[in-house]
């Protein structure tokens, strides 16, 4: 037990000293949440519509004012509007002269323009009815049917962000640290001491799992503090999932350490694995946006399932209990199965 305590204390010291490691596991989620929150957290803010009225104000003006999804910015002339659209001080523009309705979009806003065009078509359709003295005969009522009543874009993203340090904490620690210790013969020296390989890996792993918890709590706290994002957390499931996935991260790191010998190659593989997963696991982009073959690939990526399991534990989505425990058990199994394999290989090579 004393040996374990020494390994544990040394790993804590190493983590606190290694600024890059510290930043990547704790700082990066903070950066992500602040950036995502400030830049895209306002995704549900009204769209800024620049308006130039050269013809009769009504009924267009009252129609636009009725819409909660539009914030109207009145401008004097088409030239002013054109400049405002180009400089992106408004999202898109509208010129109405009584006979023609013109919408202006900035050409480089390729991702935003389809939704602005949709808004524009909606405005034109409503104006057509008003000008002919008609009301809609059919009204589509959008109803939120998700699990969380106050769901927002950040509610979907934050659970994904939480999973990044959990997985990467173990992944990089085992992959690069163990291969580095092996290359520098530190591992061999440690293993000829009365220290058991299991204690060595356990000491290293436990620190990582505690870091995973810390990262998850910091992210949740910051989301609530800065952006007011609150979850209906099922603490029992959350704590178990973080532990199991932290263990899984160690397992994936062990897999990489088993596959390659050099620390450089291990970091390379771990980076590749993590970056591909970040893009294809529905954390940054919804899975529906992926092409069919990448959607299939995403189903084989552990982070896809971990992020969804985390959303369930945080009360954002529904999930069958069989699926949740399957994900949790799967991650735990990866860690329990692969970490001892690495320990055995380390003992043999020592």
């Amino acid at each position: 037990m004393k040996a374990f305590k020494v390994v544990f204390a040394s790993q804590v010291r190493i983590f606190l000293r290694d600024r890059i490691d510290f930043f990547l596991t704790l700082g990066l989620p903070i950066v992500f949440i602040l950036l995502f929150g400030f830049i895209w957290g306002g995704g549900e803010r009204p769209t800024k519509l620049g308006l130039v009225l050269l013809g009769p104000e009504e009924p267009l003006l009252s129609l636009l004012r009725e819409r909660a999804d539009l914030a109207i910015v009145r401008l004097e002339s088409p030239e002013d509007l054109s400049e405002a659209v180009k400089k992106r001080s408004v999202d898109f523009g509208l010129i109405w002269d009584g006979e023609k309705i013109s919408f202006l979009f900035e050409a480089s806003r390729v991702q935003d323009n389809p939704s602005y065009e949709q808004l524009a078509r909606g405005v034109a359709a409503a104006l057509e009815l008003r000008l002919q003295g008609r009301e809609s005969a059919v009204l589509p009522e959008k109803v939120h049917a998700g699990k969380l009543l106050q769901a927002s874009w950040l509610h979907m993203v934050i659970p994904g962000i939480i999973t990044i340090p959990i997985l990467s904490a173990g992944l990089f620690a085992v992959a690069s640290r163990v291969t580095s210790m092996r290359e520098r013969r530190i591992l061999a020296q440690l293993l000829v001491t009365p220290l058991s390989p299991a204690f060595l890996i356990l000491g290293l792993g436990l620190v990582r799992i505690l870091i995973a918890y810390l990262g998850a709590f910091v992210t949740l706290f910051l989301g609530a503090l800065v952006f007011g994002v609150r979850f209906l957390i099922r603490w029992d499931l959350f704590l178990i999932l973080v532990f199991a996935s932290g263990l899984g991260g160690l397992g994936f790191g062990a897999l990489i350490a088993l596959l390659v010998r050099r620390p450089g190659s291990a970091t390379f593989l771990a980076n590749l694995f993590l970056q591909v997963m970040l893009f294809l696991s529905g954390i940054y982009f919804p899975l529906e946006f992926l092409p069919p073959f990448l959607r299939t690939v995403s189903q084989f990526l552990p982070l896809t399932h971990l992020a969804q399991g985390m959303r369930f534990a945080l009360g954002v989505v529904e999930m069958g209990s069989f699926e949740f425990w399957g994900i949790t058990g799967g991650f735990a199994f990866v860690g329990i199965f692969l970490v001892p394999l690495l320990a055995r290989q380390a003992t043999r090579s020592a």
């Binding site: 180009k86 991702q111 927002s152 980076n271």
Partner: protein, 382 residues
């Protein structure tokens, strides 16, 4: 001069040998460009989304059947979504809640009756669109359904003789700020190029300067007949060669794999590419001068890397920020590099006056150079 060339050659070889350097400087930009183009590029080409949309028609009348048929026709003709027919209201609500479908259209049992009354000027008939707020995919699917209902509404009013089929005004939609519709690959390519150059400059200088100083390599260089200026010239030349290779590969991938049509061979674009080389290099020196150790330098580089990239609008146009972030954006070199390069390539206009870009970028180079020269001792006595 031979020494400078030899040193440049050594640095290029070093870059090509280090797997991590190869990953972040060469492979990652190519991977990023490919993934972004595969995801967003196909959306503009009308590529089928992975949406599954459910429809429940509880109405036994004619209007419910027509609306139901319109949803089926849209699903078959455009491949916008995969359609699932559901019988029960409770089932469809559960399917949306559990994420098994992106959105659902619920046509109530009294739809035809309500619509008939609505045509006689009573309250409009309602249909429900179930979705999950906050999920981009679900919101998009709900918007598609909402637009379909609007189209149906117009058709019904026209057929009932309540609305003229000829709109009382002309509708025009125009794109401004570029000569033609900008394709996604043409928008993202300059952003990825600037990202690649920035990451290369930001991380390679600490590894070449601080690490070399820390482990004593610099000391060994400087006892050779090589001046500090010669050392940095060799490093800069080697870095330039490597960055040229990086830009070339990104551009080739964009052009041949994703059909990018923009060409970097324009004087202003070349100027911004050169600034895109020198500014990150100077920021790299600034960080190296600031940090005492390699670990510190890399941590600092990591801290500034992502915020500057995202706030620079390299991947998405950034709007609607709080004031303090707008100020940060205005002095962010990546904002001016990205906007300047895009404007030089004919993709949109910079949100800032044209003179600000070069001025801000030159100030970054100048101030970084002054600070780095003052702080960055070589740690050796010749």
């Amino acid at each position: 001069m031979t020494k400078v060339y030899a040193l440049a050659k050594a640095f290029v070889r070093l870059y090509l040998r280090e797997k991590e350097t190869l990953f972040w400087f060469l492979l990652f930009p190519l991977l990023l460009l490919s993934l972004l183009c595969l995801i967003f590029g196909r959306m503009e080409e009308g590529g089928g989304m992975g949406f599954t949309v459910a429809v429940v028609n509880l109405d036994r009348g004619l209007h419910g059947a027509i609306l139901h048929q319109m949803v089926k026709d849209l699903a078959h003709s455009t491949e916008l979504f995969h359609l699932v027919e559901v019988e029960e209201k409770g089932d469809v609500e559960r399917m949306v809640r559990e994420g098994r479908v992106s959105a659902a259209l619920l046509i109530p049992a009294d739809f035809s009756e309500s619509l008939f009354k609505a045509l006689g000027m009573a309250q409009p008939a309602q249909v429900k669109i179930l979705y999950r707020r906050g999920e981009a995919g679900s919101s998009l699917a709900a918007n598609i359904l909402s637009e379909l209902v609007q189209t149906y509404n117009r058709e019904v009013l026209i057929r009932a003789g309540l609305l003229s089929p000829i709109p009382p005004f002309k509708l025009e939609m125009a794109l401004i700020g570029a000569r033609e519709r900008v394709r996604y690959v043409d928008f993202i390519l300059p952003g990825v190029v600037i990202m690649g150059l920035f990451v290369a400059g930001l991380f390679s200088v600490p590894s070449a300067v601080v690490l070399a100083k820390e482990v004593g390599i610099l000391r060994q260089y400087l006892v050779a007949p090589l001046t500090p200026a010669g050392y940095f010239a060799g490093f800069t030349l080697g870095h330039f060669v490597f960055c040229s290779l990086q830009v070339f590969l990104i551009w080739i991938l964009g052009r041949w794999a994703f059909g990018a049509s923009i060409s970097p061979l324009r004087p202003l674009a070349i100027l911004y590419l050169l600034l895109g080389f020198f500014v990150p290099l100077s920021v790299g020196f600034l960080i190296s001068a600031w940090a005492k150790t390699t670990g510190g330098a890399f941590a600092l580089a990591n801290i500034v890397n992502l915020p500057l990239q995202f706030l620079g609008g390299l991947y998405f146009p950034v709007t609607g920020l709080p004031k303090f972030l707008q100020g940060l954006m205005a002095i962010n070199p990546l904002t001016h590099l990205g906007e300047g390069l895009r404007a030089a390539l004919g993709i949109g206009e910079s949100a800032y006056p044209s003179w600000t870009g070069p001025v801000v970028l030159l100030l970054w180079i100048l101030l970084s150079a002054i600070f780095a020269t003052k702080r960055l001792g070589f740690g050796v006595e010749r």
